[in-house]
């Protein structure tokens, strides 16, 4: 294609490079950026210039509550994923390659399975007649089925399950890169194992921690399928609210809610790219 034929053709080749990107840019412009931009425009101009929709969101108790709940759920899911994911990534990075490849399958197969299937699995497990209830009944721990599905607890359990691999994979990638000799050096200089971990592994793993946390948080903010299926009416997250408003033909308000969500996501995305760079951040995102 447009490869530099001679060194004198530098400008021509640069034009060639741009020409290679152009079809995709036009495509995304028409079918992705324009519809999203038009939707954002609708939130402030329907039928004429107005800030009413945003005023409504930030002045109505119910909507504010949904925003706050969405942020709270996302934060808790992120922290729980980090706490559960960090030791797993650490162990996977420390065992030898063959073993870690084998154990990695246990992280990757759920990761590869569609979110819908994984959420359905939790419905089967947590339901009134579900496996966990039947197990607890037969063990005599409980006398009658406990309500597990359609609770906030179910939202946390299922969301962490879906998002945990997004935490483990970047953490694992970073920890694999930590040279074990650094630990040896620290210990041979007299550091106790716990101090060697605190002063060597922990700081070096921080890029993985921030990548994992930002990725999980940003994905959690926009979660729709899982809270809609395993949550109760009290677990209304912003994406579910957006869909409800669309169904009610309240398009301007749905658009305004989407703009708020997008603003939050973009802010975090900017931090993400600023601290890590696009390729480093996403190269590991889904592999």
């Amino acid at each position: 294609m447009a490869l530099p034929a001679t060194s004198s053709g530098r400008d021509a080749s640069q034009r060639g490079h741009v020409a290679l990107v152009l079809p995709l840019l036009i495509y995304l412009g028409v079918f992705y950026a324009y519809p999203v931009a038009a939707m954002m425009f609708r939130s402030i101009h329907e039928p004429r210039w107005t800030a009413d929709n945003f005023a409504q969101i930030f002045q109505t108790g119910v909507y504010l509550q949904v925003l706050w709940l969405t942020v709270r759920i996302s934060l808790i899911v992120t922290v729980v994923s980090l706490v559960l994911g960090y030791p797993v990534a650490y162990v996977l990075a420390r065992v030898d390659r063959a073993k870690s490849n084998l154990l990695m399958i246990l992280v990757l197969v759920p990761f590869w399975t569609s979110i819908l299937v994984r959420t359905y699995a939790w419905m089967v497990l947590l339901g009134q007649q579900g496996i966990i209830n039947q197990l607890l009944l037969s063990l005599g721990v409980i006398d009658e089925p406990v309500r597990l599905l359609n609770t906030t607890f179910a939202v946390y359990v299922a969301m962490v399950h879906v998002l945990l691999p997004f935490m483990i994979l970047p953490l694992y990638g970073v920890m694999r890169g930590i040279d074990e000799n650094l630990l040896r050096a620290a210990q041979s200089l007299g550091a106790r194992p716990i101090n060697a971990f605190r002063q060597v592994v922990l700081p070096l793993s921080l890029p993985g921690v921030s990548a994992g946390c930002l990725l999980v948080f940003i994905l959690a903010l926009g979660f729709f399928i899982t809270p809609a299926l395993v949550g109760g009416p009290q677990d209304l997250m912003i994406a579910v609210l957006v869909q409800q408003q669309v169904d009610l033909f309240n398009w301007p308000l749905a658009s305004a809610l989407a703009v708020v969500l997008l603003a939050a996501a973009l802010l975090i995305f900017a931090i993400f790219v600023r601290t890590l760079g696009v390729e480093q951040a996403f190269g590991r995102a889904r592999t």
Partner: protein, 283 residues
């Protein structure tokens, strides 16, 4: 990093810590895999409703899936849409990755971020944006609309995978081809493409799966006429409770795992190729 050292270099790790770490890891891995595994026996249940443990073995839910035209039609539609999305996304994404990795032009970083952004923007935003767009055009319910949107969502996977393969590509191989008289077009097909092919294939597979699995856009755009498999599953999960969905889920788990394994193999091969072309270049 895992080089073996003589005994005095062995890392000290308190036993108690090792046991704790091992236990936590085992529990978390169990939590990750158990829900996936639990679906499989349910799909072979002889019961008329979800019950565990299954009272007996039966293939009735698989039979149900393969004999009902609504399920089969949905699966067929999803495969078709996925294949066309794969072709479009690969065709648009591969040259774009070439231009982005090789080119030095102003605004490259912004363009890169823009192309990757469908991956990180909450899908619900894209979904309602395109829903309003297609509603005005009267395209809601058309598979064509789904293809157009899914391609936007799939393109980042192609760009990321192809870019990664191009990162270590030795451009002198192309100069060599062209100095021997090959046209740029022929150089691309006979030198560049064969080397980056694993990355292209991995990207194409990711693109297919991303469309095949996509629910949220489909919920808005597919109407009642373009019901994809995830959309059909969504309806089934919400309004029916028979274990057909367990059978579909089992098929999907096996299908997507196989596709991802293939993508992973391509990705590994592209990594190997990258190091080996670097080695050739070094000689």
């Amino acid at each position: 990093m895992t080089r073996k050292y003589p005994a005095q270099g062995v890392l000290k790790r308190p036993r108690a810590v090792g046991i704790w770490l091992g236990t936590i890891t085992a529990l978390v891995l169990f939590y990750l895999i158990f829900p996936i595994l639990v679906i499989v026996p349910l799909s072979f249940s002889s019961a008329k409703y979800l019950s565990f443990p299954p009272p007996g073995f039966s293939l009735q839910w698989y039979q149900n899936f393969f004999s009902r035209s609504d399920w089969l039609g949905a699966a067929r539609l999803s495969i078709w849409i996925g294949l066309i999305v794969m072709i479009l996304a690969t065709g648009l994404g591969t040259p774009a990755a070439l231009g982005l990795v090789r080119g030095r032009f102003p605004g490259k970083k912004v363009i890169n971020a823009f192309i990757i952004s469908p991956l990180i923007a909450p899908v619900i935003i894209v979904a309602i944006g395109v829903y309003f767009f297609y509603a005005l055009l009267g395209l809601v319910g058309s598979p064509f609309a789904l293809i157009l949107v899914h391609t936007c969502l799939a393109v980042p996977f192609v760009v990321i995978n192809v870019s990664a393969t191009l990162q270590g590509f030795d451009e002198r191989l192309e100069y060599a081809a062209m100095s021997l008289g090959a046209t740029p077009w022929r150089t691309f097909w006979q030198v560049t493409l064969p080397i980056i092919r694993p990355g292209v294939m991995a990207g194409a597979l990711f693109a297919f799966i991303s469309s095949f699995d996509e629910l949220i856009v489909a919920l808005f755009v597919s109407g009642t006429t373009a019901v994809t498999l995830p959309r059909k599953m969504w309806q089934s999960i919400r309004f029916e409770i028979d274990p057909t969905i367990a059978a579909v889920s089992t098929i999907l788990i096996i299908f997507t795992t196989a596709l991802f394994l293939a993508a992973e193999l391509f990705r590994r091969r592209s990594e190997r190729l990258r190091t080996s072309t670097a080695a050739i270049a070094a000689e």
